[in-house]
């Protein structure tokens, strides 16, 4: 004999996590079709670990290095770009493919639209743009040199700050900027990751 009690009601009415995941399938794609996704993101497994990539309508806006907790990365994007943010790997397919090729050693430059909005216009953005334009695969430069490219030869410290805050690492190659002494310098993903990238590009010896 069945009796109605809250426990039994809960048990019967609660949808499982799997069912909810199924119900949500295709939602992001539909939202994108209706123009409701301001930021799309996806993850990418690489030899260095798992990256998070995010894009807006304008282009790639963020590359988060392995080790950056996903929750924090997404929260900052929600605050700084838009909270209408969904996992939508299809929008990141070109970036994922090019990064895959880069890590496999078969790509030396990126051909991706970039959204620069996370870097303030002015000196900081000029630093990143000139590093992108001039520092090709396998090349390196000093902070002072990059500062000079951006129009302020004596602002190497500020150039360092701009590079340290680079929201689109790897694609915008801040890892190719070294101390004038030749020391490797700092990197968001740690100096070891910077070294590994430079070795991958043949810029430093094995």
């Amino acid at each position: 004999m069945t009796r109605i009690d809250p426990r039994r009601l809960r048990k019967t009415l609660a949808a499982g996590a799997d069912d909810a995941a199924l119900a949500a399938e295709g939602l992001a794609a539909r939202a994108a079709d209706e123009g409701l996704v301001d930021v799309a993101y996806a993850t990418l497994d690489t030899p260095l670990g798992t990256f998070t990539l995010a894009a807006t309508e304008r282009g790639l806006v963020r590359v988060a290095l392995p080790g950056a907790p996903l929750g924090g990365v997404l929260e900052r994007l929600a605050a700084e770009v838009s909270p209408r943010l969904l996992e939508l790997p299809a929008r990141l397919d070109p970036a994922r493919r090019e990064l895959d090729e880069y890590f496999a050693g078969s790509r030396r430059s990126f051909d991706l639209e970039l959204d620069w909005r996370l870097t303030p216009a002015g000196f900081y953005r000029r630093v990143l743009r000139s590093a992108s334009r001039r520092l090709h695969f396998g090349a390196t430069a000093s902070y002072g040199q990059v500062a000079a490219w951006a129009g302020s030869p004596r602002a190497s410290r500020a150039a360092g700050t701009a590079l340290a805050r680079n929201p689109i690492p790897i694609v915008v190659p801040c890892h190719r900027v070294l101390r004038s002494s030749g020391e490797i310098g700092l990197y968001g993903g740690g100096p070891a990751m910077k070294e590994e990238l430079l070795r991958l590009e043949g810029a430093i010896e094995e």
Binding site: R3, A15, P83, L86
Partner: protein, 165 residues
């Protein structure tokens, strides 16, 4: 304006209670469609959400979408009885026993208002104050509606058991 959490996190956090609520409201088969309508509408309005009670907020949308769904169905050429349709579509095929079927049938037999209150409480796990928000009534009225719903469920059970005796 407070910063909204990323919509993906919002969706992940509330999708199970919203689906549970909608299953109770429109039946398990149609629930998936109404679920997507709900979250698309939520995304559309997301930047205007006040953020204090996100679950109550999305369940308010879900309740409206469930009502729209019932209206749309009522306009179809061959209307079917709501109760029959809901109990027809309980997830019996997914290994649910006699007992679960009885509960689904009893829930389907509630008035729409009571079903919403019961579903918000026991499928979506909202506190009474937020049930009030989602139903557009006071906390006290929400409490009363849930209790009335429970009483109606028990009565429906007893009747059925009388009938089978």
């Amino acid at each position: 304006m407070a910063t909204q959490q990323p919509f993906q996190a919002f969706l992940d956090e509330h999708r199970a209670p919203v689906l549970s609520f909608l299953r109770a409201m429109v039946g398990p088969v149609d629930a998936d469609d109404v679920f997507q309508e709900t979250f698309i509408a939520a995304l559309r309005a997301y930047r205007r959400m006040d953020g204090r009670h996100p679950r109550a907020w999305v369940l308010t949308i879900a309740r409206r979408k469930a009502i729209d769904h019932h209206r749309a169905r009522a306009r179809r050429p061959v209307p079917r009885d709501d109760v029959v349709e809901l109990s027809d579509r309980t997830p019996a095929e997914s290994g649910h026993g006699e007992e679960e079927r009885e509960i689904w049938t009893a829930v389907a037999g509630l008035s729409a208002a009571q079903r919403a209150a019961i579903a918000l409480r026991y499928a979506a796990e909202l506190p009474y104050r937020e049930i009030g928000t989602a139903l557009g009534c006071s906390e006290e009225a929400a409490r009363r509606r849930v209790h009335d719903g429970l009483r109606a469920l028990r009565a429906s059970f007893e009747n059925r058991q009388e009938a089978t005796r």
